[in-house]
């Protein structure tokens, strides 16, 4: 077992040496892989940051239900009954027009506002907290409530946030799509790199097989090469993403501040970085393995 580990360690070290020893050829490949990885990573980081902020914003969405000004006690009671038993409503409370006016006065320090007005122009209202924050459910509830008798309108307070949310949802789908496509690209690029390497070392492989090398012995250095390449590419891609965050972060924050919002771009968490590294290493290994198996079969049959 110890010996087995030693052999793997040796292979890993030699493969890394090889990458570092021929910097130019490896570098081009590495950069290609890194950029391919950096694309979905940056998109992921950007969308994640925005979504985190939007999530806070839409975590407790409210629907304001304004009654017609001509609504009577009985109409209000009817709406109250509907809301009480409604499965999609988590909580709600009633704000009478008098209370609303008093709030308005207090908030804006406009005591005596009511005296200056011809009566109270504000409507009675219900503030409804839905059970489900998901945009589509919100929309349905809003439609339903605005259709109740003597209800003037039902306003979703963060309508624009909802739209942005679905836009980001689209972005998230796109990120995964991109990640999928580039994952396949990673497999193909590695496949090609390893295929070329094996072709270049064909004679050595043939001789090795003749004097007793197993297939796994022959494959091992190539698999390690692929894994190192993927790990290094992930690190470079991560660096690129961090760099992007460092550059774009302050600008985004400033822009958000214009709207009194607080948005922080934040990079990948360590666990996420490790995850990406593991997945790209696995994909690279897959590509290398496919190439090696194919080439070994070709050598065998020649």
């Amino acid at each position: 077992m110890k010996h087995f580990l030693f052999l793997h360690l040796q292979s890993a070290r030699q493969a890394l040496h090889k990458i570092l020893r021929q910097p130019f050829g490896s570098l081009l490949n590495l950069l290609m892989l890194s950029v391919a990885l950096a694309l979905p990573l940056s998109l992921y980081v950007g969308i994640n940051s925005l979504q985190g902020w939007l999530g806070k914003l839409t975590a407790s969405p409210q629907i304001s239900l304004f009654m017609e000004t001509s609504a009577e006690e009985a109409d209000i009671a009817a709406v109250d009954r509907t809301l009480r038993g409604h499965p999609r409503v988590a909580r709600y409370h009633f704000v009478s027009k008098a209370q609303a006016l008093a709030d308005l006065e207090k908030r804006n320090a406009l005591t005596g506002l009511a005296e200056g007005l011809e009566g109270n122009p504000l409507p009675d209202a219900f503030i409804v907290e839905p059970r489900d924050a998901e945009p589509q459910a919100l929309e349905m509830l809003q439609k339903e409530l605005s259709g109740l008798p003597m209800v003037e309108s039902a306003q979703f307070d963060a309508d624009w946030a909802k739209r942005l949310y679905s836009l980001l949802e689209l972005g998230r789908h796109l990120t995964w799509l991109l990640a999928g496509v580039l994952g396949v690209a990673l497999v193909l690029i590695t496949h090609n790199t390893i295929r070329m390497q094996i072709l270049a070392r064909r004679e050595e492989i043939e001789v090795s097989k003749l004097i007793g090398a197993t297939d796994s012995f022959i494959r091992r250095p190539f698999l390690y090469h692929a894994v190192w390449q993927a790990v290094l590419a992930t690190l470079i891609a991560w660096g690129l993403t961090e760099w992007l965050v460092a550059i774009a972060g302050p600008a985004v924050s400033q822009f958000a501040q214009l709207y009194n919002e607080h948005v922080d771009l934040h990079g990948l968490r360590p666990a996420e970085l490790l995850g990406v590294m593991a997945v790209s290493a696995l994909l690279a290994m897959l590509g290398a393995r496919l190439a090696a198996d194919h080439q070994l079969r070709q050598i065998e049959s020649s």
Binding site: H3, F6, L7, E203, E204, E206, V207, S208, K209, L210, I211, G212, A213, T214, D215, F217
Partner: protein, 217 residues
């Protein structure tokens, strides 16, 4: 021990390179394989090393029935065999040391022990001190010695040499033969092929004579 039991080898072209051969070479024996070009000497050695498979019959090597062995097990049989190829199969992209160390890397020796064994093998064949030399700089005789060093560095129990003295002066060829004899003397089974029988006759060993894939009488 090497045992052939009614072995026939037919190549895809339809040529029977070996026809219904049966013989035994005991462990520790030194045997010669004689015959003109095309007689089947290389084919016979390749069957022992598992490089080619018998079309029919049974090839036993060190207790393994090669015709029935799984492909994935073949490398482990080969790791106990040393091969001196007719066409050398030296890797010209690396120096003498790196050529010689290949079988040890395959078996998985650590660097320290591998270096020690490579030095010993190169000393034995007379290439001591040439570890860093590239093979292209070696004479024909030295290249042959390099092949022998690589074949014996992992101390195989069977040593197969396919026309190792071809293209060498008689004096050189005799040196090489002496080298093989010394491996035989430490217990290695040695099988050497040659088309020139005069070299073999001096040794008083068994000579297996082939002609068109059969024993010549």
């Amino acid at each position: 021990m090497i045992q052939f039991d009614q072995v026939t080898k037919r190549y895809p072209g339809g040529i029977d390179a070996l026809k219904n051969l049966s013989f035994t070479i005991e462990s520790g024996e030194m045997a010669f394989l004689a015959g003109h070009s095309g007689a089947g000497k290389s084919t016979l050695l390749k069957l022992i090393a598992g490089i080619e498979r018998a079309t029919s019959g049974r090839v036993m090597v060190n207790g393994h029935n090669l015709s029935r062995l799984r492909r994935s097990q073949l490398p482990y049989v080969r790791q106990h065999i040393g091969l001196v190829f007719q066409d050398h199969k030296i890797l010209f992209d690396r120096n003498v040391f790196d050529n010689t160390v290949l079988p040890l890397d395959i078996i998985g020796f650590d660097r320290r022990e591998a270096t020690r064994r490579v030095r010993a093998a190169l000393d034995k064949v007379g290439l001591g001190g040439k570890e860093r030399v590239m093979p292209i700089r070696l004479s024909g005789g030295e290249q042959q010695r390099l092949c022998i060093a690589r074949a014996v560095v992992h101390r195989p129990s069977i040593l197969l040499a396919d026309e190792p003295s071809a293209n060498l002066d008689r004096a050189y060829a005799l040196d090489i033969m002496e080298l093989f004899k010394s491996f035989h003397q430490v217990g290695v089974t040695v099988v050497i092929s040659a088309h020139d029988e005069t070299l073999m006759e001096d040794y008083g060993r068994r000579i297996i004579r082939l002609r068109e894939g059969q024993f010549a009488t």
